[in-house]
Symmetry: C2
Subunit: 228 residues, 2 copies
DNA sequence: ACAGCAAAACTACCATGTTAGATGTTAGTT
DNA sequence: AACTAACATCTAACATGGTAGTTTTGCTGT
């Protein structure tokens, strides 16, 4: 007999659906949502939708305007900068710890992730490449074995994941440089040179922030549509 | 004329009340809550209480057990360690940035905070001392001017604030060492020696973690009571 | 055609009712 | 005394109705 895992509540399922719709690009950034419409579309009452939206707000994916409506988050340049910097702060700090605490498994996970990315790159599979990238950075976060930091990371990474799919519909042109940066981090980790690894990692994330900035300033002239 | 700030919703007020009750020690750690009882006690309906509890759960102050009840969070040694480490990660990273970006105002705020702490120490005012300490660490966080990191910090610091009031009812015996550590950080900041400041700060937070650990292992034999 | 303005539609907030699941209690059996 | 199961009680999850604030719409006069 195996212990039963708790069935997910309606609110959780609802939150997952909406989160996926945002991150996958189904719901445009800044688009208007509505408890009632979402409830009708998902076939549930307004209560779980309301709870889900509140949860997604604390994840940074949704902003709720009192008496006006709920909206998919709409990043400006400053917020994106801050998100990337926060990400860099967490990843670099955790990388320092991981190199000391779990050097073996950390290195192995990083290598697996880059292998997946190379495979996806050869197969021209943008989706797989993105998955590998997430796996790479996730391996860094897991290295310190600190659940609090993991939670904090997941909160800030959700909007960034959404941004990635919304801004980069095709595989970026900078994948070569990106791959090299990943390898640079790995090599430094392998050599247990924490400071070098950290500096490569910070630079890597900074490049991503730059890419976001240029894309955002181009697409700044879009207007909000109703999605739900 | 000043821009009016949005009137707070019932849910926000409710959340503030409950949060204050937890952080101030009014509600014991691990004690059972109940939407209905809280609603009756606060004179509101269950809806805002429910929303508030959900928000407090994402702050780490409350844990909700499906169909069973809500409880004030109950930390174990591991979680406290992780909270402190996460705090150290954020504060040290942000301190590095702050020294570069806002050296002047950062230093000024740190000095004001320690001045407040010394005043409180001379006046035997534990409450004021704690307030000064919070102001000190808050000054560090504000130094980088990154709202995302601020939010992340506030989420992790709430349980730690609660722990402080619940575990240290009297002013700690280690205030001398603590004050010296604060001064060590300030001096390093003044000299713009980021690495030295960071190492002092990390050590300071690590000492706090140790204090939590010893107190927790002593008080581990307490049982849960109903509070509301 | 356009500005002003009032009515209608829409929204989240809050209150309350209902329900399924979890827990505590007690009567009944061995 | 020990175990069991029916029962009562308590809980949060979910559904639904009312309300006040916001936005849109559509009419009106110019």
């Amino acid at each position: 007999m195996q212990r039963v895992d708790y069935p997910k509540s309606l609110m959780e399922v609802t939150a997952e659906r909406i989160r996926h719709a945002i991150v996958s690009g189904e719901l445009p950034l800044g688009s208007k949502l509505s408890e009632q419409r979402l409830a009708d579309a998902l076939g549930v009452s307004r209560s779980p939708v309301r709870d889900a939206l509140a949860a997604l707000q604390s994840e940074g994916l949704v902003t709720i305007s009192p008496k006006r409506g709920s909206f998919v988050f709409m990043p400006n340049l400053r917020v994106v900068d801050e998100l990337c910097e926060h990400r860099a702060i967490l990843e670099t700090a955790v990388l320092r710890l991981g190199i000391v605490r779990n050097h073996g498994s950390l290195l192995r996970n990083l290598e697996n992730a880059t292998a997946e990315m190379e495979r996806a790159l050869a197969a021209q599979d943008p989706h797989g490449y993105t998955a590998g990238d997430h796996r790479f950075h996730n391996a860094i976060i897991m290295g310190a074995e600190n659940r609090t930091t993991e939670r904090s990371y997941n909160l800030t990474i959700s909007p960034l994941k959404a941004l990635r799919t919304h801004l980069f519909t095709i595989m970026s042109e900078n994948t070569d440089r990106s791959m090299n940066e990943h390898f640079a981090v790995i090599n430094a980790v392998r050599a247990k040179d924490a400071e070098l690894a950290v500096s490569h990692l910070w630079e890597h994330i900074e490049h991503l922030a730059e890419a976001f900035r240029t894309k955002l300033s181009v697409e700044a002239s879009k207007n909000t549509k109703r999605a739900m």
